[in-house]
Amino acid sequence: MIETKGLSYRYSVGTPFEKEAVKEVSIQIQTGEFVGLIGHTGSGKSTLIQLLNGLIKPTSGQILLDGKDIWAEPKKIRDVRFKVGMVFQYPEYQLFEETVLKDIMFGPKNMGLSDEEAKKRAEEAAAFTGLKPELLEKSPFELSGGEKRRAAIAGVIAMDPEVLILDEPTAGLDPRGRDVLLTQIRSYHQQRGNTVLLVSHSMEDVARMADRILVMNKGEAQLFDETKKVFSQAKSLEKAGLRVPQITKIMQQLHEMGLTVDPATLTVDDAVRQLLPILQQGGMQK
């Protein structure tokens, strides 16, 4: 379980650029949860995730990983980064080794694992992200954009973190690449049963994937609730500069028109299931 207590972070303290990026955030994420993190640029979501894996130190407040303050022993902060894995935006920019396999092994080897163990982990991670085995011996710079992205994600998964944070993993991918990657992430989450935190600008993607959603606005945790409940609060989302998925908007309007449908419908499948009986009944009555 990962928990924050009154977590705050200020940038450039003591200069005219001082800014409070994260304010008094207190949240609890249970083991095995799939949490979506949304908020527009400058809402503090990037700072929050960097705090969660100890890349930056909070100005005040605590981050508890399994009940222990991650900054209790600053010298052991690297261990926290192995437990809370972080995939940055455009992670393909971090690839550097001669081969894809060696690159994925970088994290596990930093953990002090033997070559054999690291290799085993790397191969498993590559399989999780759907990277074909024959690509592993290639140079990472020969891969296509989508493949590079997967190799970079595999590099973090190979550390087998308890919590996996993904910052906009689908940014810049085409619809095909995006769908494949999201499917892989979901099956990774189901098989490993660990915690996943997905940061995304796409409401449709988050609606489809997450159990719970954290909405950040102006550095504060504005909402943190089940996905359906969050998307049923269209007004609150608009205040944070966000919107609901198109299908949710349609179902909300139909609900307002007096139809007995769920105003927090998140997928087209679900909408069809609800609408068909109503519409067919109407047809028969005519």
């Binding site: 940055f88 920019y93 994290g107």
Partner: protein, 271 residues
């Protein structure tokens, strides 16, 4: 890391900021020449006063000037110590092989004033002139060199691009370092060799990305019809103002005062 600014431009609206950048470069060179031509304390004082006036009307906080001196303080201390012990004439104090003479002390005061003033003079220039103005002015001042086939425009373009991309690459270095740290890279501990090794995961991605950027930039420049300096015009034309000529007049008067004071007293500095 994020807040590094290139050059030390301090935006403002003082007279110093408004002087034509070409003239400002010439004035800076002029004041440095004066510093080196000064032979006695009076003429040195005239040169220093000239630089002080520049500092005063630049309206840049004194704190910033002090900061720029701090960077060279080691050199100043070192050279003045050397000078103290290498003077000529009667020693006023002596220990072991070191002799301190009046001439040595004077020499060391003279030379440290020179170095500090030199830094101050160039600071006045960089504090009050934006990097773009500076590049532009240098390109125009050096323009005659194109006749002897010096690629002045190309150098200026390289400088412009460097100024534009250095902050970007710094930011990128920061991002890559964060990403590698998240994968457990240890960049803070270990010996020299280990630390250099630890930089590889940062440097390689940085180079790859720099090449990508260079490729994109070349495409962008070419598709915006860039074809070198030939036939190129400039939006901003540098034109000397009335006030600029006024400055030149003042400087000429100063030069006369300086030359006179150089003659009145015999030189102090001999080496």
């Amino acid at each position: 890391m994020m807040d590094i600014t290139i050059g030390q431009f301090f935006p403002g609206k003082s007279i110093m900021h408004k002087i034509d950048p070409r003239l400002k470069i010439c004035l800076t060179i002029f004041s440095i020449v004066l510093l080196f031509m000064a032979q006695n304390f009076l003429s040195l004082a005239v040169a220093v006063a000239f630089i002080f006036i520049g500092m005063l009307i630049s309206k840049v906080p004194v704190k910033l000037y002090l900061k720029s001196i701090r960077a060279v303080i080691f050199i100043v201390v070192f050279t003045s110590l050397l000078n103290v012990f290498y003077g000529t004439g009667e020693p006023i104090a002596q220990f072991w092989v070191f002799k301190v003479t009046v001439n040595g002390i004077l020499n060391s005061v003279f030379i440290s004033t020179r170095i500090i003033s030199l830094i101050l003079a160039s600071s006045v220039l960089t504090f009050t002139t934006s990097p773009t103005q500076l590049t532009d002015a240098i390109e125009r001042l050096l323009k005659p060199l194109t006749y002897i086939k010096v690629p002045v425009h190309e150098f200026a373009m390289i400088m412009t691009i460097a100024l534009r991309f250095v902050p970007l690459l710094l930011e990128e270095t920061d991002k890559i370092m964060q990403a590698q740290k998240a994968r457990g890279a240890d960049m803070e501990s270990g010996g020299m060799v280990q630390r250099i090794k630890a930089m590889i995961p940062v440097l390689i991605p940085l180079f790859v990305s720099a090449f990508r950027r260079a490729y994109d930039l070349a495409t962008a420049m070419e598709s915006r019809c860039y074809h070198g300096g030939e036939g190129r015009t400039k939006m901003k034309i540098l034109k000397m103002q009335k006030s600029d000529f006024f400055v030149i007049l003042l400087v000429l008067i100063l030069l006369v005062v300086f030359l006179l004071s150089n003659r009145i007293f015999p030189p102090v500095f001999m080496m």
